[in-house]
Amino acid sequence: MEAIYLKYSYDFRNYTTASQKRRVLYALEQLEFPSISVLQDRVLRDATLFGRLLQFLTIPVSEMFRDPAYFLALRRHVVPILHTYPSVKVWVAGCSTGEEVFSLAILLREEGLLERTQIYATDINPASLEKARQGIFPLEAIRGYTSNYQRAGGLSAFSDYYTAAYEAARFDPSLCADVIFADHSLATDSVFAETQLVSCRNVLIYFNRQLQDRALGLFHESLSHRGFLGLGSKESIDFSGYADRFDTHARAERIYRKVA
């Protein structure tokens, strides 16, 4: 990981070791290399191979309206406050293949906020970002997404938002007309905008505490006065250095508010 950082500037050095070990072993098997040292040697000399390895090192697993209670809480307890701003900026950090971005865009449109909201969707994986831009998701997943959407307090028919063709569902491109998809690393890059809401769910779990603190520091710095931070349902800032820099806004749904 040290060598990858020096060569490619991708910093996996402070990722949790248990899941990183599993992913490297899985990559070894899938890429058919006999040992980690052979893989390392080849990766450092072959940027294309590094691109393939990157797909194993990051975890593009998400779903739309994952943890519906989170989106319901955003709708009920955060949107009314966002409405008081003339314009809103939202950062979806570690957006992976875009499921979370489209979920938020749908929610904001239903709440009449999308037109004055700028969403920044960032990830370190260029292949994931490209998928996110396209907004095309497998049709087989849509049934689960629909159920999530309804439990998240959806106001419409979920099918209003996509066109089904072949085995895929293409989401209405106007949903992300104003989304900026950008390459950004929580491990090495800095803050790029002032935001009112940061949604970063199930990303920090792959970081050790040092890197978690770095990421939380970026979020804290990015958020405007009393801005909101949404985490994954089993994540907590209690074990971080930022425990006293945020208030709890919705405890079970892991929505926090920046303390001045």
């Binding site: 070791t17 899941s19 074990f239």
Partner: protein, 204 residues
């Protein structure tokens, strides 16, 4: 110090720093039987993976908190393992133990159709604790846990498997026994005795 009893077997002294347990079909009853009667002064942290549907909240922590005299939690990301506490993996997340003796969660794909996976917990516990971890594997209808228990065995830890003849579903114990020779293959009653005879490494 051995706690001999006329009713129970006694096992060679074994010092451990953590216990990891896994079960699937029939697992709640099996786990209850193993944990029943834990003393209030219990010192060793324990982590459990029981296979449950992903889409529902788990109430395992509440259920076992009522039955046991020790603190019971659903594990959160980066939560430290505290002496004497019992932790359950949350539904829909893999649970690992890091070398710093803290939990980490992950949304990696299911292993053997299971998330949380017993293999993931046990393999990480073997890395984190080496020879001072004990793994208990009980009833279940798939092969999750066999690989994890093998990791614990290779790290020098203690492995214990429920007697397949007694298990509600014997697939999981049989799969583990096929991968290595466990230190103990026992009915639940004796697994319970074995657990209670483990000694915490940092005992005063």
């Amino acid at each position: 110090m051995k706690r001999d009893s006329t009713r129970h077997r006694s096992f060679p002294l074994r010092r451990v720093e953590a216990v990891v347990l896994g079960a699937s079909a029939g697992g709640i009853d099996a786990l209850s039987a193993v944990l029943d009667g834990l003393p209030a002064g219990w010192r060793i942290p324990m982590a459990v993976v029981l296979h449950l549907p992903e889409s529902h909240d788990s109430h395992l922590a509440e259920i076992f908190a009522q039955r046991l005299p020790i603190p019971v939690h659903e594990a959160l990301d980066k939560m430290p393992l505290t002496d004497g506490c019992l932790y359950f993996a949350p539904p829909g997340y893999h649970l690992s133990i890091e070398r710093g003796r803290r939990f980490s969660l992950s949304c990696e794909p299911p292993v053997l159709y299971s998330r949380p996976s017993i293999d993931v917990l046990m393999a990480s516990a073997a890395d984190a604790y080496g020879p001072s971890v004990a793994g208990f594997l009980m009833t279940g209808a798939n092969e999750d846990g066999a690989e994890g228990l093998l990791c614990i065995h290779r790290a020098g830890g203690l492995t214990a498997v429920q007697d397949p003849k007694e298990a509600l579903v014997s697939t999981m114990p049989l799969a583990a026994i096929a991968r290595h020779t466990p230190d103990h293959v026992l009915p639940l009653r004796d697994l319970r005795t074995l657990l209670q005879q483990l000694e915490p490494v940092h005992a005063l």
